[in-house]
């Protein structure tokens, strides 16, 4: 019997083993390696040379890195904070009984199926000075804006795309959370005379907290890794105003072949994600992991 139990332990481990190996080789090892490489000078041609903290020093002295870091933080918060609220509003809207709900949901959710590159080319076209967006704001008497070619608006234009694309996805997640709240809670509160807002703040929101937490963490991670939009839509410009950290890492590594410096920037990006995630988990969950 004991031998059989041990056998089962081995079987269970063997089921997990291939996936574990893959994650070790393609997640854990690269993370350690990125950290290690960040102390070396490496250009893919000559062998790596240990340089201590020089790469970090170079980043610290590089205004472009500071700008990319700042852009990443602005983009991340600019995209995810509106997403938290707008996606919740969307989910609350769609959770009401209404005519043609399946079609309305389909209409809202279909952007989830659209690939990023398609979204990028559509929006780039719409942001054209003579494009759809300027035409629409023209109806309200607003002058043409050079969305993508002005430093003041380029990053904001990319943020709007990010929000637009993220809302349906997080809306679905919220909707699932809303639907898992038992209906009798609301009915009981209604009998006790609680109004819509009281019910939302005292019943819906506390019970939705795990979902909210999940949305916050995922939205932060998925927005900080934006790369395609700055590359295809603005090329990081104008004047570096849409250069975000992943773009900086790509450029440093694969345009200038400064692998060590790119690895140092990756390490800093990791630390940024790690602490932000930790911060929100701690603040919202008060303690346990």
């Amino acid at each position: 019997m004991i031998r059989y139990k041990n056998w089962l332990k081995i079987v269970g481990f063997l089921f997990v083993l291939p996936a574990l190996l893959h994650l070790f080789v393609f997640k854990l090892y690269p993370l350690i390696e990125a950290f290690k490489l960040s102390f070396f000078k490496y250009d893919l041609m000559s062998p790596p040379v240990f340089v201590g903290l020089l790469n970090y020093q170079n980043l610290w002295d590089n205004p472009l890195f500071h700008q990319s870091f700042l852009n990443s933080v602005i983009y991340m918060l600019g995209v995810s904070v509106p997403e938290w609220f707008l996606a919740l509003i969307l989910a609350l809207l769609l959770n009401r009984p209404m005519l043609g709900r399946p079609f309305i949901r389909l209409a809202y959710f279909i952007p989830i199926a659209m690939s990023q590159i398609v979204v990028a080319v559509i929006w780039k076209f719409m942001y054209h000075p003579q494009g759809l967006i300027n035409t629409i704001i023209g109806i309200f008497g607003i002058d043409r804006i050079n969305w993508l070619s002005s430093e003041q608006t380029a990053l904001a234009s990319l943020i709007m795309i990010g929000v637009w694309r993220g809302i349906p996805l997080f809306g679905i997640i919220y909707l699932a959370g809303l639907q898992s709240i038992p209906k009798d809670y609301h009915e009981a509160a209604m009998i006790d005379g609680a109004n819509v807002f009281q019910r939302f703040f005292y019943i819906t929101l506390p019970l939705l907290l795990p979902t909210v937490l999940f949305v916050i963490v995922i939205s932060l991670i998925s927005s900080v890794k934006v790369f395609l939009n700055p590359l295809v839509i603005t090329g990081g410009g104008p004047n570096g105003s849409t250069k975000v950290l992943p773009y900086f890492i790509y450029e440093t590594g694969f345009t200038y072949f400064r692998m060590g410096e790119a690895a140092a920037a990756s390490t800093i990006l990791f630390i940024l994600i790690f602490f932000l995630t930790l911060f929100f988990l701690k603040v919202l969950k008060k303690g346990d992991i």
Partner: protein, 274 residues
């Protein structure tokens, strides 16, 4: 009573406004893809072209080897999806129904890998694939993507709810451990497998950064790379770029419309906490 019907009207209007904001970009893409180049920026704007220019579609495809790009995207998508289904359900079963040392540690480790997007580990991953001599190969294009922690997490959550009695009964009947996985677990996971397949295929159809770094040979490019390249080379041929964009969304749009429920369930399942 009056106030509540006013509120209802307001909410309906809000819903409709939201639909417009969501769908107008797609409508605009489709309409532009059928215009002549001189109609593209006509003012006042034309919501519909005067004559549908269907030839934009074959024209746009002839600009580069888009048939090859399309094929590459399909092949890698199908293989990566299949491999994720196999390995994630195996690992999910192991984590959900077996007890072995370090199991919870491994599970936490897998959850932590979800915080590690490719963007962070891009440089070392590239160096690993380079050392394996897999640059500019289809295999190298797929290797880092064939297993993802998200799938393992999702399958584990689902398999946990399958009753243990099913597994015990099969064991008593003398079914092999792999046989249990194959004949009991997998058939009971169909909804989760379907949802996972859709999400993985979508992510892969979307994958840009990795092929962008890895595939410099034209014969290895995927559809998103081709479209980005077209965007930078022929950036004024808007009607053709939009035609390509329309073609690019067709596979996912079809899957989504037919399997909307599975899609939504998959995304919802990913949001449900332990």
């Amino acid at each position: 009573m009056k106030a509540s019907s006013f509120l209802r009207l307001l909410l309906s209007l809000l819903t409709i406004l939201g639909i417009c904001i969501t769908l107008i970009p797609f409508f605009w893409m489709f309409s532009t893809s059928l215009k002549t180049s001189s109609e593209v920026f006509d003012l006042p704007i034309r919501w519909l072209p005067s004559i549908f220019q269907w030839q934009n579609y074959p024209l746009s495809f002839s600009r580069a080897a888009f048939d090859v790009y399309f094929k590459n995207s399909l092949i890698t998508g199908i293989i990566v999806t299949t491999s994720n289904l196999v390995f994630c359900s195996l690992a999910g079963y192991g984590l959900a129904k077996f007890d072995f040392p370090l199991r919870n540690f491994f599970f936490k480790f897998i959850l932590c890998t979800l915080m590690l997007p490719l963007e962070i580990i891009l440089i070392p991953t590239f160096l690993i694939v380079q050392q394996l001599d897999l640059l500019n190969t289809l295999f190298g294009l797929m290797l880092p993507l064939v297993i993802d922690g998200f799938g393992i997490f999702m399958m584990r959550q689902f398999i946990k709810d399958i009753p243990n009695s099913l597994i015990e009964a099969a064991r008593l009947d003398g079914c092999s451990e792999f046989g249990i996985f194959w004949r009991i677990i997998l058939p009971n996971c169909k909804p989760a497998l379907g949802a996972l397949a859709l999400l993985v295929f979508r992510d892969n159809w979307d994958q840009f950064l990795w092929p962008f770094i890895l595939a410099s040979k034209d014969a290895l490019k995927t559809f998103p790379l081709g479209l980005a390249q077209m965007e930078s080379v022929d950036s004024t041929a808007y009607q053709e770029i939009m035609a390509l964009a329309v073609v690019g969304i067709i596979p996912m749009a079809i899957l989504f419309i037919f399997f909307q429920k599975a899609f939504v369930r998959g995304i919802a399942l990913s949001g449900l906490k332990d």
